[in-house]
């Protein structure tokens, strides 16, 4: 019944014992705490049969057929390992979705290593799988993504800074590219997510940040590629399995970049490991 807690000298992450999901994140240096729930969801991809538009979701076009998300699982089976080098909680959501939440001893970031796939499509529904971080941060419809890995731009839901927007796609119309990081913030707290690859993301609800992880679609979008986005491999003929990492940092807005800039550099320019058998004198 007690919450699962992983902690180092910088961060503390708490998990709800009933659901196995993250429930809060604290920065122990700055003494800030936010409510933080994270889970996995999927949008049902549009098949093009829609009164507003015949555009199916495909390689070029992200177009869910409604704004309603399906939850992969409301709870996760969780295992907790605590050692002097790393503390981790392994979460199992479904046969095709799992995650390891890690906190290394000297790290100022919480690592979420997600594994998604093969995405099941035997129900005839194409799926666009996301993870969503729901927080207590008061975002007032603003969020921030980087456009090219350098410049972080302010985004506002259903708004464009240079023209009067008539929003026709309530989800896809609010998605933006994330190349290395995205964040949400208010006066006190900034939650930054550093990604290990280019992804799409948005903040549809205040205080939330969602990031696209995987897509498996059943129809071509008629934009030129000529085939549905339905990748498989020799090892996984039933659909691609994808694994990636998100790094979360919680800081005061004024000093958040001091953490997320070096963090993103370490992700982009990762060290190169080589091995030799035996003792290398």
């Amino acid at each position: 019944g007690a919450p699962i807690v992983i902690q180092n000298k910088y961060l503390q992450a708490t998990f709800d014992p009933d659901t196995g999901l993250l429930s809060s994140l604290s920065n122990l240096e700055t003494k800030q705490t936010i409510k933080l729930t994270q889970n996995f969801y999927w949008y049902n991809a549009s098949d093009g049969i829609n009164k507003d538009s015949h555009q199916p979701s495909g390689a070029y076009i992200f177009r869910p057929n409604s704004s309603t998300l399906s939850t992969v699982s409301r709870t996760a089976k969780a295992e907790n390992f605590q050692t002097s080098v790393v503390q981790e909680v392994r979460q199992w959501f479904a046969p095709w979705v799992s995650q390891v939440v890690r906190l290394y001893a000297d790290s100022k970031a919480l690592e979420l290593e997600w594994t998604v796939g093969p995405v099941p499509v035997s129900d005839g529904q194409g799926k666009e799988v996301i993870t969503r971080l729901d927080t207590s941060i008061k975002t007032a419809e603003f969020f921030y993504t980087d456009s090219n890995g350098r410049e972080v731009l302010q985004r506002k839901k259903d708004f464009r800074p240079t023209w009067q927007l008539k929003q026709t796609e309530p989800i896809a119309g609010n998605y933006y590219p994330i190349n290395s990081r995205a964040f949400i913030k208010d006066d006190k707290d900034q939650l930054t997510v550093v990604t290990d690859r280019s992804q799409g993301g948005s903040s549809i609800q205040n205080g939330s940040l969602e990031i696209m992880l995987h897509r498996r679609l059943l129809y071509d979008d008629y934009r030129g590629v000529g085939e549905p986005l339905d990748e498989a491999s020799e090892i996984f003929p039933e659909g691609l399995v994808v694994r990636g990492r998100l790094l979360l940092s919680l800081e005061r807005p004024a000093s958040a970049a001091d953490t997320h800039r070096p963090l993103a550099q370490e992700v982009v320019f990762q060290p190169l490991l080589t091995f030799t058998d035996g003792d290398l004198k």
């Binding site: 050692t83 080098v85 392994r90 046969p95 594994t115 000529g226 060290p271 190169l272 030799t276 035996g278």
Partner: protein, 171 residues
Amino acid sequence: KGDSQTLRKAMAVAQHHDAVSGTEKQHVANDYARRLANGWQHCQVLVSNSLASLSGSAAKRIYCDHLNISVCPLTESSRQFSVSVYNPLAQPLTWPVRLPVNGTAYRVTDAEGKPVDSQVLPVSRATQEVRRNRGFALNELVFQVRAPPLGYSTYAASLIQDRPPPPPPRH
């Protein structure tokens, strides 16, 4: 003889907007992957030559491209191995390393022979499912490495215990 030209050319091909955004046909995606993998193979020789020159050791260097799914035939089977860490950043690096192993306790030392705190954890269930029949590691050896700016460091790992039961999960 290694070269970086092969990877350079593969990267040039992959600047096409379809490669950048993933809007290519599947057989084209497969071809991009093949070109990039071939380029990396050539680069590995180049990196090995450079590290041999810098370290003064001609020992054969192995690359483990599937560490993200806990697959590395060398660390899974060897009782003693070394890890060299090259840091491409212009600032000192501290980085967690996770290596697939089959032993349950290892002695890890830095280049000066000082012991480094290390732990062995069982491979996660998800990883076992992802890698299917490609890897056999039961555990992962985890430790923090440090490397100087634009430089490298070397760590040695040797097996000190084989096959006691892995630690039970706390929950």
